[in-house]
Symmetry: D2
Subunit: 307 residues, 4 copies
């Protein structure tokens, strides 16, 4: 197929008449929409189905949500007979074709479903929210854990460190982001905007967060750091209102006094190590006088380590 | 584990002494480095191994490259006996734990290896380049196709439509991007910068590309569109130097006269449909007078379709 | 002078030894610094003097400030004898040279002083602050009005409409800007961040501000607009917490319910007309359904006008 | 006047019926349009006149252009009788009111005209172009020099150092800017895009330019710098194609080998000193190993100076 006929082909597909109108789609169950999405050939028609699935999910009550997760866990599961057959074929003749068949047999269809849903703008954040609901039902429905494995598998791939972007959070950060910092702070609660300002505006108080390009309005995790001369006595000394603000040249210690995950739906996808690593690297480069990196331990004393 | 002890834990790991210096790492073979990367527990030490693997790969000659791909294809392959056992266990007792084991048995270790390599900044583009080399060896080494399946699997996930960003390419686009448009144009060659200017500067000549946030300097695919009054007679009429430039209000036809994939290493990951879909949507919104969307067919006439 | 010798010349000047160190400068009076700044030939040495003048001004108490303004008003004033002579010369022989001399005779040296101070980064905002202090002393020291004329003249030129940039203020605007909106709102006080959010976050509540590129963190003036269906009964209806939010398609009326100047030091430099003009133009383009543009009159009813 | 009635007033003015339509304006002479602009009370109606003046000027042939400049120089000149009277009044009673009158008497009305023209978007660049034409006619029409004084006065104020922004020019700078670098290079001609690339892409070749926020697409002046180890023998060594590229750590010398003004219409407004000063400062901060700053003298040898 020549390149130009390829283009022609795409354009034809784009404009082919589709028998079901968008209106009709809305009347079908979310399970039916998922099946249409999975069996759709063109990416374009799939797009419509994906949007409908997300919209429909948004309107489900708890019981319907559980039913939907049951559908994912049972109807879109793998078939062990097929796997056994494919495995034998591959063992006998380890070609790529046979491997591909085996891999496809082991991947539950719900994983491809989630991948297709993610083609819609802003779907990533909604899928993270979907998993949050799933996690909340695991105690009552342990059988949904099979579905959770697929969420975890996909999120580990999508939120790979190579795709994350670190941003310093400052007082001139958009307020819509800052209010999420207030909301998600999990160690030392941020009482109000003035409290927040004390943690992000002075040059000796730092806050850094990871973002994913597909969810630019939602921090994934953030860490708060106080630059100090010597190790502070207490968290109160760090958060005090009337303290002296240090210049970079005066600081010799960086206290990592708080770290908070923001997305419950990303449980098990680890960001903390990477974030702290990059913050330490950046601070060392920016302020060569920093000699001690430390965290405040809740119970007895301080944990300290030298570089 | 309390949150703060979690933080303490991370920081300790970050600064633990590591016996091997970066210098020592460099003396080991790329295969040894890959094994270290796969068995590394901390993300931090993994980071160093990943960097070393990429740097080492860069310096391999053709023979060594083939050897490395052989290592991936054979040593980091799946074990069919294990799969059979895990499959039986899951068939007997379909729990999440058993499913997880089965899934892990079917996923070749090289897939996790590639995922870990991708934690390094700019690794994504280098992995796309790695697969380009792999594709070039498939004819001679068809057994590498098993490894290619893993590249394809990961790239399909990483380059999911939801993560792509469309940008209009204009004359005020960075020159470093524009030179890639010149280089990758595959249908109607762009002779020089003046030729390029004719295709991106006038308001009735459009060019749109998809980018991935982890490869912001590299377009993935681009399409060129001419706005016209009626369907042009020929590609020459579209690319002529001395033609009249139409205002948006005068145009009634959009001619998609060229589409080019830029990344050989992304073969099989499909972007064209999505790009054209979004361009058509955007053009319709921006220029309501557009009635005809068409492509130039290479041989006899025109392919036309109405919206 | 060839171009390259011009470059040589610049570089030599840049690095010539200067007898007075920066330290010494600091010991001299602000008036002496001003005279050095006015008589400095190189832009480079002038830079140091300008910085010193601003720093020194910052530390003056009220009495010293008044003394400084007296210095500007009396010592850096024009000389009427010189003007008379230059005017006669120009009347007798209206050449450009004579005109230039006349113009220079009429321009008080303090105007050139202010222009030179403005070469320093962030000086513009500080000069606006300087005039604010001057305005506060005019009642007691009406003789300072001559100096105020020069501020006004320069500010009218610097804050020319062509240099202003309009920005919509949203909930994702930097918090450092938003807190200034809270502070400067002069008609209907903004009580707290939640009150602010109600005025900038919903799509039917708009806020637009003018900025100057040399003061990007400081809005100059802003206007608040409510989109409505029909004219609201009262300001309470506009600012209510629990109202229905309209879509753009539902709105037919734009209520300009508040406008606030932010910079006391820019008194007499008019921005309001231009801001409202551009907001009206932009809203018309964005929401063609808007038919009525109205303001809330404080006393009896509404002022309305149709487009 | 209360604040709200001020808002009402603005809005009323904005929408008052105007007897002359935009169409009618176009039929009048540019001189008549200028007089309307000068006598217009509202900024809003002035806006329309200003746009018309610029559009009309664009269409003038050389003879008409000269006629327009004659109009500015003669009809919009100062009145020496008035100046004499105002000067006497101010000498007798040096109040701010009298000073204001004197200042206004000495400022030719064409200066206010140019200021009002500048209220239109993109007017600044067009006024710079207007002065370029004026400069080209000065030899034949020395009487236009009086008008040139006003351009110079305004441009000195508008292009004050405090308003300029320095940007590094790189290979990823918009091509629309880069083509202007090619065009304006005045010392060592840039032959083509590959030649340009050699001057802006390697890390040891730098180019920096000043921009004004109201003309973001037009560099005002730029300087080219080569980082080197020791002083290069010749300009050929600097511009060679096949040389070794230095790392920042290897460089000890910065050679300022070219500086070019871009805007003929800004003649007499000096930027070079400031640009070089800032480049030297920035390079010193970025690369502490730089010890020698030098320029290449065209005739015998090198001019060198140490920091």
């Amino acid at each position: 197929m020549s390149r130009n006929s390829f283009l022609t082909d795409i354009l034809s597909t784009l404009f082919e008449r589709r028998p079901r109108s968008a209106r009709l789609l809305d009347d079908r169950s979310i399970e039916a929409l998922c099946e249409s999405l999975l069996s759709s050939q063109g990416e374009i028609s799939g797009h419509k189905f994906a949007e409908s699935v997300l919209k429909r999910f948004d309107g489900l009550n708890d019981e319907e949500t559980a039913e939907f997760f049951r559908f994912l866990s049972e109807k879109l599961d793998i078939d062990t007979d097929v796997i056994a057959r494919m495995n034998e074929a591959y063992a006998a003749d380890p070609t790529a074709v046979n491997l591909d068949r085996l891999i496809q047999a082991v991947e539950p269809p719900r994983q491809e479903l989630l991948r297709r849903i993610n083609q819609v703008p802003d779907a990533t954040a909604q899928l993270v929210g979907m998993r949050k609901k799933l996690l909340g039902m695991l105690r009552e429905h342990p059988e949904f854990q099979r579905t959770d494995l697929d969420f975890q598998h996909l999120f580990s791939s999508w939120f790979n460190r190579g795709f994350l972007v670190m941003r310093r959070i400052r007082w001139d950060t958009p307020a819509s982001i800052l209010e999420k910092i207030i909301k998600y702070e999990a160690v030392h609660a941020i009482n109000d905007w003035d409290d927040l300002r004390r943690r992000v505006q002075p040059e000796d108080r730092r806050c850094y967060a990871f973002f994913h390009p597909a969810m630019p309005d939602d921090p994934l995790i953030f860490v708060e750091v106080a630059l100090a001369k010597g190790i502070p006595d207490s968290i109160q000394a760090i958060l005090a209102d009337d303290r002296n603000i240090l210049t970079d040249a005066e600081a010799d210690t960086a206290v990592f006094y708080s770290i908070s995950n923001c997305q419950a739906g990303l449980r098990g996808v680890s960001f903390g190590n990477f974030l702290i690593k990059q913050v330490v690297e950046d601070l060392r480069k920016e302020i060569p006088g920093l000699k001690t990196f430390v965290t405040l331990s809740p119970i007895p004393g301080f944990v300290r380590w030298l570089k």
